[in-house]
């Protein structure tokens, strides 16, 4: 009996020591929460942001990479030279780089990856990133020469996208289930419907990462995500979808709350081909009716920056004046509807995908447009239905946040789901694509922004903010989202 007591006492003392002295076992694992589960894990074969949010910079790397500030940094290419005419890029590759399956990375893999991405049967979601490439040549195992058909000002940035990562021919076909890249983390396990597990790649060519293991859990329900953070089941939730929960986290010293910017232009997408929205007066009337601040306050609890065009307001080339192209003016809106022959208003459908900004924003917009007689039927849809319906052009109005960086070029595609066909705008984008000089590019970007703002192509609402909540002892997570990513390479525990 006495020995039992002694043993029990010893256990108690030992456990108390363990609790009071955590430094001996510094934590090097993290559980990160995300709202959406990716459909698969190959960033070169899918548009879903969730894919990049798991694997970008962690599992896969490209020739260049985009860092937390949106700058282009060398990645698998240690340096590059650009010819005078801006058409030839010669990349010097890092040596001693291995894929996670042990195969060696060299210039052949770069050629394979880029040719695969731009081939006719490619399933790459961003083929336009590679449109300028004319040929990819292997000079020697550590040198690649890329020739462009015309100078492309954004080329190095484009190569930093998740869609442009380098994959190996041996594993390219199985990356969807078992991603094999060159990054500092290796894919270890995927429990469908629950989580993906990444482990440290001890053979990594670059700076080793601090974390030994990262578990990425998928928690679609906002209240479940809040509970998981509160209970400590999840260490970080970089993009929390319930903005109303932020004040409680801010008041709690256990958490760090970071309100960052994203590249997400949240817009009331409009079918520019379908009557009556093909009439610019109708679109202008809608623009005059939208109260952006009310939408931001009501749907996002004040998180978000109003925008007047399809461009990130934190970008230096943003044209601030576009916010006043169509100031809120109900009388003018009604007059415009009358000029369009719709004095009594009309009925239309508003499809809303699942995110908070869409579902809540949609209710507010429906209420606002009712003031000028536009009666919107609100139709909530799942992402799958949204991609098969509105995104293929079958819709009147919908709300979506376009989170790709620098994506104003989508307005130049008349087949894109806005169905906006403006030769004037297309000419500006063509010129932009051939311009490499920064000042000239900004000029053209400004022109492009003004055109889509003037034409009221879509209802421009606000730039999505990113509210990240994580354990106060964690550091190294991204504040902003210049590209879709949860870069874990600099993440560590401070104690």
């Amino acid at each position: 009996m006495i020995t039992h007591l002694k043993l029990a006492a010893a256990v108690v003392v030992a456990s108390m020591l363990a609790v009071s002295n955590p430094a001996h076992a510094a934590k090097d694992t993290i559980v990160l929460g995300m709202p959406l589960e990716p459909p698969h894990l190959d960033p070169t074969a899918g548009a879903a942001a969730a894919i990049d949010e798991v694997v970008y910079a962690n599992v896969f790397e490209g020739l260049t990479r985009i860092n937390r500030n949106g700058e282009v940094l060398p990645a698998l290419a240690e340096s590059w030279e650009i010819s005078e005419d801006g058409k030839t890029y010669t990349f010097k590759l890092h040596s001693g780089v291995k894929f996670h399956d042990g195969t060696t990375f060299d210039a052949e893999d770069v050629k394979f990856s880029l040719d695969r991405a731009r081939s006719d049967d490619s399933t790459n979601a961003q083929k336009k990133l590679f449109a300028a490439i004319e040929s990819v040549e292997v000079v020697d195992p550590s040198t690649v020469k890329i020739t462009l058909s015309s100078a492309a000002g954004n080329f190095l940035f484009n190569l930093g996208w998740g869609d442009a990562v380098i994959v190996a021919p041996e594993s390219a076909d199985t990356n969807k289930e078992n991603p094999v890249g060159t990054g500092p983390f290796k894919f270890s396990d995927w429990v469908q419907g629950s989580s993906v597990e990444l482990v440290r790649n001890d053979d990594y060519w670059g700076e080793p990462v601090a974390l030994s293991k990262a578990t990425i859990r998928f928690i679609p329900d906002a209240s479940a995500a809040i509970a998981a953070l509160q209970s400590g089941d999840v260490d970080a939730y970089p993009n929390i979808s319930a903005p109303e929960s932020i004040p409680a986290f801010q008041a709690d010293p256990r958490f760090t709350v970071v309100i960052g910017s994203t590249e997400g232009e949240t817009i009331l997408s409009t079918n520019n081909k379908r009557p009556p929205f093909d009439n610019i007066k109708v679109r202008q009337a809608i623009a005059h009716t939208l109260d952006r601040q009310a939408i931001i306050d009501g749907a996002m609890f004040g998180l978000g920056t109003p925008i007047g065009t399809h461009f990130a307001p934190h970008h230096p080339a943003y044209v601030t004046e576009t916010i006043d192209t169509y100031p809120k003016d109900l009388e003018k809106a009604k007059a415009l509807l009358k000029e369009a022959g719709l004095a009594d208003g009309f009925k239309a459908k508003l499809h809303l995908p699942p995110p908070t900004y869409a579902r809540r924003g949609g209710e507010i917009i429906a209420s606002q447009l009712r003031e000028i007689g536009i009666d919107l039927e609100v139709i909530p849809v799942e992402w799958k239905q949204w991609l098969e319906g509105p995104f293929k052009g079958d819709y009147d109005l919908t709300i979506v946040s376009h989170t790709e960086p620098m994506d104003i070029g989508i307005y130049a595609d008349p087949d894109y789901y806005f169905q906006y066909d403006s030769p004037e705008f297309q000419a500006v984008i063509d010129k932009l694509n051939e311009t490499t000089d920064e000042a000239a590019r900004y000029e053209l970007l400004g022109e492009a922004q003004k055109i889509v703002s003037r034409d009221a192509v879509n209802g421009f609402l606000f730039e999505l903010a990113k509210a990240g909540v994580w354990n106060a002892k964690l550091k190294g997570l991204w504040e902003n989202v210049p590209v879709q990513a949860n870069d874990l390479t600099e993440v560590m525990w401070t104690e």
Binding site: S223, E244, S245, A294, I295, D297, G362, S367
Partner: protein, 292 residues
């Protein structure tokens, strides 16, 4: 409780007798008062609500209960009292039509099976068992998932799962009567089965049906709230108690009034209907009361 009342066809079932007994049953009086109040509020909402529930005034959002907004406002600045009033209308409408579908189809099927017996009875009742085997709410979720969310499909879904309840009840109750002497007398007199069912069986089982109807009505209100909570019931901008609860759940910590009032509305309505059902059972079936 499915046993028929012996005295049913003998008692005087005039209104005065009913009223006398009704007023003596406390649970009936309280329950009926609550149910009538909810009904009155629902009807009133057609003509008047303190505020327009389709107009969002974001500047007034998340206000606590006050003299302007008795139940406070939600995250869009809508008046919660007004939303509960319109929500009552939706809940009642859904439950009423759903019970109507259940009774309208279930009772004819059940009494027909009781009159016919044999294979028709077997087939019908096994089919009933089949529907019964599914948890009703789960199946309602399935139906609305297939045919799309919306108040109409919610009504159909809840209604379908009311059919076997009434079919089974009316069959069981009717069977007991088919062996009784006054029915035999009617048959000897040459009346057909359909006529007997309408003239003699239905009046005798109506008490049971009313009691069951009240209970199914409260279950219907719960089902509508459940479907709306998961987003399969009434769609915005139509207010619904279930969706109000859903919207409130991430705001519980700083705006508890958003959840408390619709929650209370559901609890009180269901409680009232159940009390009314219990009371009705006691009043309409005196034999049962004596035995209990």
């Amino acid at each position: 409780m499915s046993g028929p009342s012996q005295s049913a066809e003998l008692d005087d079932w005039g209104w005065p007798a009913f009223a006398r007994r009704a007023l003596r049953s406390r649970s009936f009086v309280i329950g009926a008062a609550i149910a009538l109040l909810v009904l009155a509020i629902g009807i009133l909402s057609f003509f008047w609500t303190p505020y327009d529930v389709t107009r969002l005034v974001v500047a007034d959002r998340l206000q606590s209960p006050s003299s302007q907004h008795w139940f406070g406002t939600d995250h869009f600045g809508r008046d919660i009292l007004s939303m509960i009033m319109v929500g009552a209308r939706n809940s009642i409408a859904v439950a009423l039509v759903a019970v109507g579908i259940g009774m309208g189809i279930g009772v004819p099927l059940g009494t027909w099976a009781a009159a016919k017996r044999g294979w028709a009875d077997d087939v019908l009742m096994r089919f009933n068992d089949l529907i019964f085997a599914f948890p009703a709410l789960l199946s309602a979720v399935m139906i609305t998932a297939i045919f799309g969310p919306g108040i109409f499909n919610a009504i159909i879904a809840i209604g379908i799962f009311n059919i076997p309840v009434f079919a089974r009840l009316s069959r069981g109750a009717a069977l007991g009567f088919w062996t009784r002497e006054f029915i035999l007398a009617a048959r000897v007199a040459g009346k057909g089965k359909t006529r007997i069912t309408i003239e003699h069986i239905l009046p005798n089982i109506s008490n049971l049906l009313i009691v069951q109807g009240t209970i199914q009505f409260s279950l219907g209100i719960l089902a509508e709230a459940g479907l709306s909570y998961v987003g399969l019931g009434a769609q915005p901008p139509q207010p619904s108690w279930g969706r109000m609860l859903n919207e409130a759940q991430t705001m519980m910590s700083f705006a508890p009034h958003m959840a408390i009032f619709p929650g209370l509305a559901i609890i009180i309505t269901v409680l009232g209907l159940n009390m009314m059902g219990d009371g009705l059972r006691d009043i309409l079936d005196p034999r049962l009361k004596r035995e209990n």
